[in-house]
C-alpha cells in the first residue's frame, strides 16, 4: 500500500487534475503538497497545449463545425493539457452553467464558452458572471437575444438567480422580472440571421460563423428597477454587482465547489468555511480552492474516494494514465462516445440544470460501460503509459509474488488505496498465475500480458471508479 503522503498527493491530483501516474506523483511529492497546490492554481504558468499538429492532421478539429469534432477536441485538450486544473474548472463551470449543443446547433459556440471558463474560471465569481452574461452561446441558450426593452424574456434572468448564483428561495418573482429587464439589449450581432441559421441548422454556404456579443443601448430598458432591496436604473453589470455580494451566493458557490472537488455528500461546516472564504476574497475562486485544498476538510481520509468519477474524468484520466491520444488518432471519437454511453455528453448536457452527479453516474448499464472502456484503454500494452508501468516493474525486480504484484500495480495506477476486501480479491486473481517473472526472456511476453490483465481488473475496482 502507498504511504499516506503519497496517498494524499494522489487524492489532490484526482480532484484538481484527472489523476496522475506514479512518476507524476513522485515529481509532485518532490515539490511538496503546498507547492503543488499553488502550481495547480496557476495554470497560466504552464505552457498552453499546442494543438497545431492535431488541427493539421484532423482539420475538422480546427473549425469544430460538427458536434463530434467539438467533443473530440475537448477530449484531446483534457488529455494533453499541462494545465489540468484549468480543464477541471472549465468542466465544473460547464456543468453548472450547462449550455447544450442540442439547442444551439453551433458546436464552436459551446467550445468558445468553455474557453471563457478556462480564461476566467479561477478568477472572481463576479467576473465569471459578467463573462457568462456576454457569452453568445448563453445568450442563445437562454433566449436573451429575445429579451427586448418592450418585450422582456425572463429565461436568462431567472436562471441567473436560480441555477447560476443564489438558488431558489433567495429572491422574488419581481426580482426575476427586474433582473431580466436589466439584461435587455444584451444580444448577439446579426441576431436575426444567426437565429434563422441556428433554427434551420444551416451550415451554408461556408460552415458556421462565430457568434459575437453585441450590446444595443436602444433596446435596453433604462428605467428604474428594484432588485433585492436596491433601486436604480440598473443595467446587467449592476445586477451582477448585487448578486456577487449576497450571502446566498457565497453559500451557493461554496456548496457547488465542495460537491465537485470534495464529496458527493454535503458537509455544512466545510461549506460554511468555503462560503466565508468567498466573502473574505470577494468571491475569488482561486482563493477558495487554495483554502479548500489546504484544509483538513479536503485532506481528511474520510473524503478520499468519496466521489464517483464523472464519465469525462474517468475516460480522460484513464487515457492520461495509459499515455494514449497524445498524437492525432482518428479513433479519438470512440473516447467521447464512451463518455456519452456512460451518461455524460460533454458540450451537450441534458438540461440547464446540468448532469445529475454522484451515484447517479452509475447504473447497471453505465457500470459495464465504465469497466469495459477503462479495460480497453489500459489493456493495450502498446500505449506508452502502459509500457512505462511494465518497465518500472521490470526495473524494480525480476519477479513478483501475487501480493507484491498487486501492491506495485496499485501504486503504478496512481497510488490507489483499496479496501481489504478489494485487495484480497486482487491477490486471489493474481494468484492464478503464481509468481510473475520477467526472466528468462521467453517469459516476458506472458508476464507482460498478466500485468496488463491485472491492471484491467484494478481499473474495474470500486476504488478506481471513484475519485
Amino acid at each position: 500500500m502507498a504511504d499516506k503522503n503519497l496517498g494524499l498527493m494522489a487524492h489532490l491530483l484526482r480532484r484538481a487534475s484527472f489523476g496522475a501516474t506514479l512518476q507524476e506523483l513522485e515529481d509532485y511529492q518532490a515539490k511538496g503538497y503546498e507547492a503543488t497546490v499553488e502550481e495547480l492554481l496557476h495554470p497560466e504558468d504552464a505552457p498552453e497545449w499546442d494543438d497545431d499538429v492535431f488541427r493539421r492532421y484532423q482539420p475538422d478539429l480546427n473549425s469544430v463545425m460538427y458536434f463530434e469534432s467539438a467533443q473530440n477536441y475537448w477530449m484531446y485538450k483534457m488529455i494533453n493539457s499541462k494545465r489540468p486544473l484549468e480543464e477541471k474548472i472549465a468542466l465544473f463551470w460547464h456543468g453548472l452553467f450547462a449550455t447544450a449543443y442540442g439547442k444551439l446547433n453551433h458546436a464552436k459556440g459551446v467550445v468558445n464558452q468553455t474557453d471563457t471558463f478556462r480564461r476566467h474560471g479561477l478568477g472572481s465569481f463576479h467576473n465569471i458572471l459578467m463573462e457568462l452574461s456576454r457569452d453568445p452561446a448563453m445568450i442563445f441558450w437562454l433566449d436573451n437575444k429575445d429579451n427586448h426593452k418592450d418585450a422582456p424574456n425572463e429565461n436568462y434572468g431567472r436562471e441567473l438567480l436560480e441555477l447560476f448564483s443564489m438558488g431558489i428561495g433567495n429572491y422574488t418573482e419581481d426580482d426575476v422580472k427586474n433582473c431580466a429587464r436589466a439584461f435587455t439589449g444584451w444580444t448577439i450581432a446579426n441576431d436575426e440571421y444567426m437565429s434563422v441559421r441556428a433554427s434551420r441548422d444551416s451550415i451554408w454556404p461556408s460552415g458556421r460563423i462565430d457568434w459575437q456579443f453585441e450590446y444595443r443601448p436602444e433596446d435596453h430598458d433604462d428605467t428604474e428597477k428594484s432588485f433585492l432591496g436596491h433601486t436604480g436604473n440598473f443595467n446587467g453589470e449592476d445586477i451582477i454587482d448585487i448578486i456577487a455580494t449576497r450571502p446566498a451566493t457565497s453559500w451557493f458557490i461554496a456548496g457547488k465547489l465542495y460537491n465537485y472537488f470534495v464529496s458527493d455528500t454535503p458537509n455544512e461546516e466545510a461549506i460554511g468555511f468555503l462560503a466565508e472564504e468567498y466573502r473574505k476574497s470577494n468571491g475569488d475562486i482561486r482563493s477558495m480552492l487554495r483554502a479548500l485544498f489546504l484544509s483538513d476538510y479536503f485532506k481528511s481520509e474520510d473524503v478520499w474516494y468519496a466521489k464517483v468519477k464523472s464519465p469525462a474524468e474517468l475516460v480522460v484520466g484513464t487515457a492520461r494514465l495509459a499515455g494514449s491520444y497524445t498524437t492525432p488518432q482518428w479513433d479519438i471519437t470512440n473516447l467521447a462516445s464512451d463518455a456519452n454511453f456512460m451518461g455524460q455528453e460533454i458540450l451537450n448536457p441534458p438540461t440547464v440544470e446540468g448532469w445529475h452527479t454522484g451515484t447517479e453516474w452509475v447504473d447497471t448499464g453505465t457500470l459495464v460501460e465504465r469497466v469495459n472502456s477503462s479495460a480497453l484503454v489500459i489493456g493495450d500494452a502498446l500505449h506508452p503509459g502502459v509500457q512505462a508501468m511494465i518497465q518500472r516493474l521490470k526495473d524494480r525486480q525480476d519477479s513478483y509474488q501475487p501480493g507484491e504484484l498487486v501492491d506495485e500495480c496499485l501504486l503504478l495506477v496512481g497510488a490507489l488505496h483499496v479496501s481489504d476486501g478489494t485487495h484480497e480479491r486482487l491477490v486471489e486473481f493474481a494468484a492464478n498465475w503464481g509468481e510473475v517473472s520477467f526472466t528468462p526472456e521467453d517469459a516476458v511476453s506472458c508476464s507482460e500480458q498478466q500485468v496488463v490483465e491485472l491492471l484491467q481488473v484494478i481499473l474495474a475496482t470500486r476504488e478506481y471508479q471513484m475519485a
Binding site: 497545431d52 499538429v53 488541427r55 493539421r56 492532421y57 484532423q58 482539420p59 475538422d60 478539429l61 480546427n62 473549425s63 463545425m65 460538427y66 463530434e68 469534432s69 473530440n72 464552436k108 474557453d115 480564461r119 450581432a189 446579426n190 436575426e192 440571421y193 434563422v196 441559421r197 434551420r200 444551416s202 451550415i203 451554408w204 454556404p205 461556408s206 460552415g207 458556421r208 460563423i209 462565430d210 459575437q212 482518428w330 479513433d331 479519438i332 471519437t333
Partner: protein, 337 residues
C-alpha cells in the same frame, strides 16, 4: 529583379456539401490539361455518417460541377486522411493518404487504377505523406512528413531517392508539408514545424531558406506552396490564416487575408432559401473583431470571407492563383497581374 505584381480577388468556387456539388474541407486541388479542377475533400471526423464526404470533386473554373469519385474507407479507391492530389502528363490522378500511408491512382474520370505505399520509415515507405508534385520526367515527389524527409518515386511507385532528416538546422525538417518543383529543377519545401520554406537542388542540397521576415510578416506553420516562372513563392500561411507571396529573394510581396463572397452554388442555395438569403444580405459579414486569444484563428472563425485553414495554393499558368480554403469549404481564386 523583383517584379511588381497585383493580386485581385476574382471569385469563389464552392459550397459546403457532404456529397454532391460542393466540398467538405478541401485540402488540395489539381488542374489537368483540359482545365478540369480536381478538389480533394479531407472531411472528418471518421464516423460512418461522415465518411462519404471524403471524395474528389471535379469542376471547372466557372463552377460547372462535373462529378465526384471516391469515398471514405480502407478499400481500393477509398480515402481515410487524403492529403494531396497531383496529375501526371497523361492526366492520371494521384491522391496521397496520410491515414492509409499510400498513394492511389485514378484515371481522369475517377476510375481506380492502382495503389502503392506502406507504413514505415525505410526507403520507399511512408509516414503521413502530405504533399505530391510531378516533375517534368513524370516522377512523383512527396513530402513524407512523419519521416521528416522528401521522397521521389516513379509514377508507378518505384522508389528512386530520399533525403532529409528531422531537426531545426539548415536542410532539416519538422513535419514538412508543401512541396513545389520548378522547371529549372529546384525543390521548394514548406518546413511546417520550423516556420520556413527551404529551397533545394533535386539531389537535396540546400540552396537557401526563407523564413527571416520581420515580426508580423513572419510565416507560421506553412502548408502548401507554389512557385511561378519568375521564382516568386506562393505559400498557404496556415498558422497565420493568410496566403503570402514572396519574391525570389524572400521579400514579402503580398499578404492576402481572403475576401470571399458567395459562389454561384451559394447563390443557387439562397435563391431557393430566400428568407435566409435576405437576412444574410442585411448582416454584417465583415465585422471588426478583437478576440482575447488565438487572434487570427478566431477572427477567421467570425469573418466568413477570410481564409480559414488555407492548406494549398496552386497556379494555373494563366495568371490565376487558387487557394484551398479548407475550413470554409471553398476555393478562393485570385487574378495575378
Amino acid at each position: 529583379m523583383t517584379t511588381t505584381k497585383t493580386f485581385t480577388y476574382s471569385h469563389t468556387i464552392g459550397f459546403l456539401t457532404a456529397v454532391g456539388r460542393g466540398f467538405t474541407n478541401p485540402v488540395d486541388l489539381a488542374i489537368n490539361s483540359q482545365g478540369v479542377i480536381y478538389v480533394l475533400n479531407r472531411a472528418g471526423p471518421e464516423t460512418t455518417v461522415r465518411l462519404p464526404s471524403k471524395r474528389v470533386s471535379m469542376c471547372t473554373l466557372d463552377e460547372e460541377f462535373l462529378g465526384e469519385f471516391g469515398t471514405g474507407g480502407h478499400g481500393d479507391g477509398e480515402f481515410w486522411w487524403p492529403s494531396s492530389i497531383a496529375i501526371d502528363s497523361q492526366d492520371q490522378v494521384y491522391v496521397a493518404d496520410e491515414g492509409l500511408q499510400r498513394v492511389t491512382v485514378f484515371d481522369k474520370e475517377g476510375k481506380f487504377l492502382s495503389k502503392w505505399g506502406e507504413k514505415g520509415s525505410a526507403d520507399g515507405q511512408l509516414e503521413y505523406p502530405s504533399s505530391l508534385a510531378f516533375d517534368a520526367d513524370d516522377n512523383l515527389w512527396l513530402t513524407d512528413s512523419g519521416n521528416h524527409r522528401v521522397q521521389k518515386f516513379t509514377r508507378d511507385g518505384e522508389f528512386i531517392s530520399a533525403w532529409g532528416q528531422r531537426g531545426p538546422g539548415l536542410g532539416q525538417f519538422e513535419g514538412p508539408w508543401g512541396l513545389a518543383l520548378t522547371d529549372s529543377g529546384d525543390v521548394y519545401i514548406s518546413d511546417w514545424g520550423n516556420d520556413r520554406i527551404q529551397r533545394f537542388s533535386t539531389d537535396g542540397v540546400l540552396i537557401e531558406e526563407f523564413g527571416g521576415l520581420p515580426q508580423g510578416d513572419a510565416i507560421r506553420r506553412p502548408a502548401g506552396l507554389a512557385v511561378d516562372g519568375d521564382g516568386n513563392i506562393y505559400v498557404a500561411d496556415w498558422g497565420n490564416e493568410r496566403v503570402k507571396v514572396l519574391g525570389p529573394d524572400g521579400s514579402l510581396l503580398a499578404s492576402l487575408r481572403g475576401e470571399s463572397v458567395d459562389s454561384k452554388w451559394a447563390a443557387d442555395y439562397f435563391a431557393v432559401n430566400p428568407e435566409e438569403g435576405r437576412l444574410r444580405s442585411e448582416a454584417d459579414l465583415f465585422p471588426e473583431l478583437d478576440p482575447p486569444a488565438r487572434r487570427d484563428r478566431e477572427i477567421s472563425a467570425g469573418v466568413e470571407g477570410y481564409f480559414w485553414g488555407p492548406s494549398a495554393v496552386k497556379l494555373d499558368g494563366q495568371g490565376r492563383l487558387y487557394v484551398a480554403d479548407s475550413l470554409r469549404h471553398r476555393l478562393q481564386v485570385y487574378q495575378i497581374n
